[in-house]
């Protein structure tokens, strides 16, 4: 069964308009800046918020519809939509086994059967033998595993993941990502993942949907979207330079702050266009014949993953290897000559 969402929400001046489909066992990642409407979208799917129009369906089952043909709104406890948030919210008064058994028992399973299945779920998420532990005797990662097992044990028709790895340390997050991926595939649960993390999107998502101000600004395969972003937020998230402007004579792309980025393009002068390239592709060394070269100014400096990350005119980021730092005058406002291989720059018409 697939989860199909096509909803519009209005809250004061904020408007959300999203359509997405998660197939069985597929994970759709929703990315976007704070206030883009990600949580609102989850609230609508989870049944905590009624849209002004649209529908939420799982297979042939309608969970929410608001429209000319009437209104259906299934209560959260009858929607069979699981939720795993940033905070595991493991019930503190129940041990791990009873936490996982909660869903089956609420559905009417006998206590003994529910506990047996809970133990199987705990094993599936790598918590074999920890069923008797109280939440406070578990680590943060273990608690999140319990929360995942608990959500899946209720056999949800769809699963919502709201930044589920945000509070975990790097290694625990990596392990839990594997568990989430395996279990979502195994149970064939359509899943929506809200995240700020490129890593989550790249490692888990089958499709990425980028939200900004309540609308979908970009969508597609995670690798495509994140390596060739079309929206400034996605570009910033992926750490890719995105220059938005207009083609001018040269040809150059006339960007913000007087940036004139040379480019090879067939687009006619005056066309709204954008160019994307990686900060690591930019060089301050002697340019090759095929390089695009322009003069820019240092705006500010920050620590890069290796060496120094220099922000230049038009928010173009340049990653300087430590060995090259000496070549550049790193004073704010100092001129700097930049070069990037033409093949590393993608230019396209702006929608």
């Amino acid at each position: 069964m697939s989860l199909e969402v096509d909803v519009r929400v209005r809250r004061g001046v904020f408007a959300l308009d999203v359509a997405l489909t998660a197939g069985p066992g597929k994970i759709v990642a929703v990315l976007g800046p704070n206030g883009a409407g990600k949580s609102t979208l989850l609230d609508v799917i989870g049944g905590l918020l009624l849209p002004v129009s649209g529908s939420v369906r799982v297979g042939s089952r309608v969970l929410t519809t608001v429209g000319a043909e009437g209104r259906v709104h299934v209560r959260p406890d009858r929607r069979s939509v699981g939720l795993l948030g940033q905070d595991p919210l493991v019930f503190p008064h129940l041990d791990a086994r009873e936490n996982v058994a909660f869903g089956p028992r609420a559905a009417g399973s006998a206590a003994a059967a529910a506990r047996t299945s809970a133990d199987a779920w705990l094993t599936a998420v790598g918590l074999d033998g920890l069923g008797d532990r109280r939440p406070r005797a578990l680590s943060g990662g273990q608690r999140q595993r319990v929360a995942l097992a608990r959500a899946l044990a209720a056999e949800p028709a769809a699963l919502l993941l709201d930044e589920p790895f945000a509070q975990l340390d790097v290694r625990t997050a990596a392990e839990l990502r594997d568990v989430v991926r395996d279990q979502v595939r195994r149970t064939q649960t359509p899943t929506v993942l809200v995240t700020h993390s490129v890593l989550d999107a790249l490692t888990l998502a089958d499709e990425v949907v980028v939200l900004d101000h309540g609308t979908v600004v970009e969508r597609g395969h995670p690798l495509d979207v994140l390596t060739d972003p079309a929206h400034p937020f996605t570009a910033a998230l992926a750490g890719v330079n995105l220059v938005v402007g207009e083609i001018a004579a040269g040809p150059v792309l006339a960007g913000p702050d007087g940036l004139r980025l040379p480019c090879r393009t067939e687009l006619p002068v005056g066309t709204p266009a954008q160019a994307s390239f990686a900060p690591t592709a930019v060089s301050v060394a002697e340019p090759d014949a095929d390089d695009l070269v322009w003069t820019s100014h240092v705006v500010d400096l920050e620590t890069g993953t290796t060496g120094v990350r220099v922000r230049t005119t038009g928010d173009v980021l340049v990653d300087l290897a430590p060995t090259l730092v000496g070549r550049v005058d790193l004073q704010v406002g100092a001129p700097v000559r930049l070069a990037v291989p033409a093949s590393a720059v993608r230019v396209r018409r702006r929608a």
Binding site: L48, D77, V81, L83, L89, P92, H93, F102
Partner: protein
């Protein structure tokens, strides 16, 4: 061994008033113990009047606590989940009996449930039920003064606990009753227990409202506090009996508090 000199940075100046406060709270009970006639104590405590008063007190206080639980917990849940001015108004209304002198409460109960009272009139006319000066009146008076302790305690705990666990429970398919039974109430169990204990202790000590609304009939409405008052005023018995009965009440209250402390939810792990 050297001890940290600065004990949590408490200014020395506070020690004097703190000591006086403790003295004010403890010394009267010490005086009670000292003044007691320990030789006649067994006889005083086991006298028919004392046993009758203690039994009545325990029975009515238990019933009043049960009433407070059955009615007060739902009120606390409704209050905790209401928002804005509704919750402010509700909390003010529930706090009122707490700050009101119990004697005023007794008069108010008479005006509501007395034979000429707002509701009492109807009860008498339609059903022949007369509440004042009955054991039921004792229970109502005790519930009136004790309920706020339970409601406010549980309501505060519910608010602190928030609704996040309940939301998760709902996504797991639990209906509202299941959520209340298996999540909401267990999460506030410590407050529920301490609220119940306070409620029972308050009911046990209730005097003013009972005296006015239920009267002072031996065996029917003469609870421990009323028996002590009567004994102290020399109505038939000596002041020594009053002291003995007071000690009995102190012992009962202390037993309740100790029992509540010994049992703490979550001690199992």
């Amino acid at each position: 061994m050297s001890e940290p000199r600065d004990r949590h940075g408490v200014p020395r100046l506070l020690w004097a008033p703190a000591g006086l406060a403790l003295g004010l709270l403890v010394l009267p009970i010490v005086a009670l113990l000292v003044r007691a006639d320990w030789r006649s104590l067994p006889a005083d405590v086991t006298s028919a009047a004392a046993v009758s008063a203690l039994t009545l007190s325990l029975v009515t206080s238990t019933l009043a606590t049960a009433v407070c639980l059955v009615l007060g917990v739902p009120l606390a849940v409704v209050m905790a989940r209401s928002r804005g001015w509704t919750s402010d108004v509700l909390r003010a209304l529930v706090t009122l009996p707490l700050v009101l002198p119990p004697t005023v409460g007794g008069i108010a109960l008479l005006f509501l449930l007395g034979r000429r009272g707002l509701v009492g009139q109807t009860l008498d006319l339609w059903f022949g039920i007369r509440l004042p000066f009955t054991t039921t009146a004792v229970v109502i008076a005790q519930a009136f003064v004790a309920m706020p302790f339970l409601v406010l305690g549980v309501e505060g705990a519910l608010r602190t606990a928030g609704t996040r666990f309940e939301t998760v429970a709902a996504t797991l398919g639990a209906g509202r009753w299941t959520v209340l039974r298996r999540i909401t109430l267990p999460l506030v169990l410590p407050s529920l227990v301490s609220g119940t204990v306070l409620c029972f202790a308050r009911a046990l000590g209730e005097f003013g409202a009972t005296a006015l609304f239920a009267g002072n009939t031996p065996g029917v409405t003469r609870t421990m506090p009323l028996a002590i008052y009567s004994a102290f005023n020399g109505a038939g018995v000596s002041q020594g009996t009053a002291v003995a009965l007071s000690l009995l009440l102190v012992a009962a209250a202390a037993a309740v508090l100790l029992a509540a402390r010994a049992w703490r939810p979550g001690n199992a792990t």
